[in-house]
Symmetry: C2
């Protein structure tokens, strides 16, 4: 029987959002629960299963659901486990897919958030019809989902595509949350942008900027964005600095898989041209000659609020 | 009919080597011609066709040849063309595969040398049974062939896998032949090692090393190797410096495709442990925690003299 629906789950450290999705990528029904309130993963999964059952009810029957896809922190596609996720309360290796499948009786696949985003772009978004592209997520951290020959790159262990952790500054690099220094994420995540702002304010006490109206330890990337939109020169410089570094890193990524496009996703993309223009300019300047002018840099076409659920749901079509 | 043979062609700037290969990767017959003597590619291809015909004669009939695979400078698998190869006399875009096929009546596929090496390792060498690995060629230049999900990564344009041209030094980087600065190739190719030797001799006039017995502009990576084997401390330091940089770059490659193995191939691998030990040490030190201890670093198992022809021939099995 043809199964017309999938379920997508976006597991965040704070909240979990669940959606019932059809073949055209429409979210027909949506539900949510608070991830962080459950100290035990068993309790969390009981509530999640109840939310899923409730979502299906009235719209469909269980045997009309092709599969469930989940995007989770540190999700391993090969094992179906969440492995040592620093932002979740459940420690060690959690056989998440199997445990959820046992509860709801529908096959479950999972992967990490950035890979889910890449599958979402390929299925419903900007990458429809593309066989080689990279999705870069610019949020609290920097993540990536890489597609080669029309297939997601999971690598030998399921953990391929950690492009937020390539080293962009080998000397005097910023400390990164991963314990190393100089990672792309330490500079170009939302928190990296806020850090850059604090550095600029410290180093350039002479210049005037509206960012000085905010207590220095409370500056966020949103403040930098607001200031840049208002014409603040320092704020624009911060975006140029961030875009420059992303462009340098992207030029190296292109030398790896020569993608047709690099798709930007996540909170920082709200900055629009302020971030896109410097990335484009820097990437083109840094590309090896044979790649120049070939790589499209585009923003995700998925609506931010739906994207995580849609991306995860797309994995549901592939479940066997 | 089952076709038991393929032909492999290794097109070098100076010489071209051709081999008739069976399913077990045995080179049954071998021939060669001088690439550089032909100003016109048509004349070259006429001679190459004659060498191929001669190779087949007495061993097999033409319809027993499954296909011809060629590894060429700047070879594009998608188009079958050699495109703007700086080391060949024929300029622009040469539809090499079609032109050769027209002459010999056997289907021809081509790719660049490093991709041919990767296919060779997968078919006959150290990567048999692996689905995710990277071959790094350390010769006059630094090249790479990347395999993901059991397939060679060609990218959207056929030119993926130029890992010799990722940037390892963003500030004060060495000039690279590609026109940019700081590329991996500028440091870790055979010529890069010789350059490092010259820098060490200039910068450290105080220390004694047998490399001073050679005119400074004539030092080669072979001289550095010979000195290191003889126990010369500066020569060993040069290999440590080179291996360090390769290890740093490899850690970034792993964050991309999480390969089961990285396979080293080419002239510089003759240095054995002198180069392997510092690479391993540096790669492990630089890897993101989730990848530590997972990636095998190994030397190619293909005999150096046969490897290029074998690698190219393996492409012959895939010709359609």
């Amino acid at each position: 029987m043809d199964k017309p629906y999938v379920i997508g789950i976006d597991v965040g450290g704070t909240n979990t959002v669940v959606g019932l999705v059809d073949k055209r990528g429409q979210i027909l029904r949506q539900g949510s629960l608070v991830t962080s309130k459950h100290a035990e993963v068993e309790d969390y999964l009981d509530e999640l299963a109840a939310v899923i059952e409730d979502l299906i009810k009235n719209v469909a029957t269980k045997d009309q659901i092709k599969g469930i896809g989940a995007g989770t922190p540190n999700g391993n596609y090969f094992t179906g486990s969440i492995e040592f996720a620093p932002n979740l309360r459940w420690k060690g290796v959690i056989p998440f897919a199997q445990m959820l499948e046992d509860r709801v009786g529908i096959p479950v696949a999972l992967t990490n958030d950035a890979n889910a985003a890449a599958i979402g772009e390929m299925t419903y978004g900007a990458a429809r019809g593309m066989k080689d592209f990279i999705v870069i997520t610019l949020g609290t951290g920097v993540g990536s989902g890489i597609v080669v020959n029309g297939q997601l790159v999971y690598g030998s262990d399921g953990f391929a595509g950690e492009l937020g952790h390539v080293i962009v500054r080998r000397e005097n690099g910023r400390m990164c949350g991963c314990g190393r220094t100089g990672c792309l994420e330490a500079y170009t995540s939302a928190t990296g942008v806020a850090r850059t702002a604090r550095e600029y304010l410290e180093l350039r006490k002479d210049v005037d900027t509206q960012l000085r109206n905010i207590p220095i330890d409370e500056i966020t990337s949103k403040d930098v964005f607001d200031a840049a939109v208002a014409g603040d020169e320092i704020a624009k410089e911060i975006f140029n600095y961030t875009g420059d570094m992303l462009g340098e890193a992207f030029a190296d990524f292109v030398a790896f898989s020569s993608p047709e496009a690099i798709i930007l996703f996540g909170g920082l993309t709200k900055a629009g041209e302020l971030i896109m223009n410097p990335i484009k300019e820097s990437m083109e300047r840094n590309l090896l000659a044979i790649y120049k002018g070939k790589v499209n840099l585009i923003f995700s076409e998925l609506k931010e609020s739906d994207a995580a659920v849609l991306g995860a749901s797309a994995l549901g079509w592939e479940v066997k």
